[in-house]
Amino acid sequence: MKKFLLVLTLLLSFNPVYAINNLAADNAIQSRIDNVGVRLLNFNKIQKRIVFVYDEEGKKNLIASKSVTKRQVIVYGTAYKSIQTDDELAAMLAREISSAVKSYSGMWGGRLDTIQVVLGSKKFETVADKRAVDYMVKAGYNPLALIVYINKTCPQGRSDKFARHNLTSKRLARIYEYITYKYPQFLQNNSYIDNEYYQNFLLNSVENRKKLEQKIKYGGVGEVEYE
């Protein structure tokens, strides 16, 4: 009888404790996301309301992210798994913030711009990447973390000719170019030089970086045809 009572007590007490632990873990993650997200909003003087939500089990909507439809940045558990530093978290949030900000501008309460972001996703993907770099720098984060984050999490497609998204290698090269021109100090005093993920990017972007070097050497303007 005693044994039965003991087992019963253990069974009854296990679930709530587990639930509380889970809740505490979720709360810690949510707080971390809120802190980094609000820091990005405040330092960039973004006067639009944007909220941050941690969703452990949800999946990203492939057509329209809630950043543009609801001005809500959702961090999914599958994406959060790959985040190691606050810089990388800032990179992820800054990208979504730039889409959310875009959804506020333009006619019909931003609806037209939202449609444009959704339909012209390749173009706005590049814009969101560049704006994310600006947001990160202004909030005191290292923009090279955006390269690390994308290099770690976004797979490489075969071609982007008829795709809705750019090839990841092109995105990375454009971000690198943007940092080279606008924030060269981060490359001169590169704190990511010892980062293995960053070194992996340097390795897989040799050809694209050569093209950028040519552009800089000859004082070129306009877009480089990255691969």
Binding site: F43, L112, I115, Q116, G120, K123, K130, Y181, K182, V221
Partner: protein, 172 residues
């Protein structure tokens, strides 16, 4: 022993309370004040997305009127203010307009954190008529896709165009 423990707890609580106050005062920004002074500017030479320009390129603006605050002149008419092209969005297919974002305005007497200063200019948005046209033409096979070749308008900032940014003197 209990007294010592009690005293230790009290000191700890006071320390935590004080550190919270210090932290609140230590933020690098304070947006409490709503007092804003408009600064009117005009670009010195035209920029357009039609001509290739690079992100991060420097541009210059001219102050159009004297800007005074509490008897002090913050910026004089005719002063040159450097700024940077933050991001360029080139015009896209289906009438997507080009866009120019300008920020990092450098005034000698104003901290950058006291400026609500990003300015953006869009080209003509042709999506308004391109999309209805595209959808109506889709009834004829392949014809709707022809609207893909209609590009959006280029963004242009001309020297006779006044732009306004705001200086918040009481912001940190």
């Amino acid at each position: 022993m209990n007294k010592k423990l009690f005293l230790f707890l009290i000191i700890t609580l006071i320390f935590i309370f004080n550190s919270e106050i210090v932290r609140a005062n230590n933020l690098e920004y304070d947006y409490s004040s709503t007092e804003a002074i408009p600064i009117h500017l005009a670009i010195t030479s035209e920029i357009s997305t039609k001509n290739p320009i690079n992100d991060g390129q420097s541009v210059e603006f001219r102050v159009l009127n004297d800007v005074n605050y509490e008897g002090k002149t913050i910026a004089k008419q005719g002063d040159i203010v450097p700024a940077k092209i933050a991001t360029i969005v080139t015009a896209g297919m289906n009438g997507f307009p080009a866009e120019i974002f300008i920020d990092d305005f450098q005034f000698p007497n104003i901290k950058n954190s006291q400026l609500m200063g990003e300015y953006n200019k869009k080209g003509q948005n042709r999506c308004l008529w391109v999309y209805p046209l595209k959808w109506s033409l889709t009834l004829i096979p392949f014809v709707g896709s022809l609207t893909n070749f209609i590009m959006g308008g280029n963004a242009k900032i001309q020297p006779d165009e006044m732009i306004t940014i705001y200086y918040y003197p009481k912001w940190k």
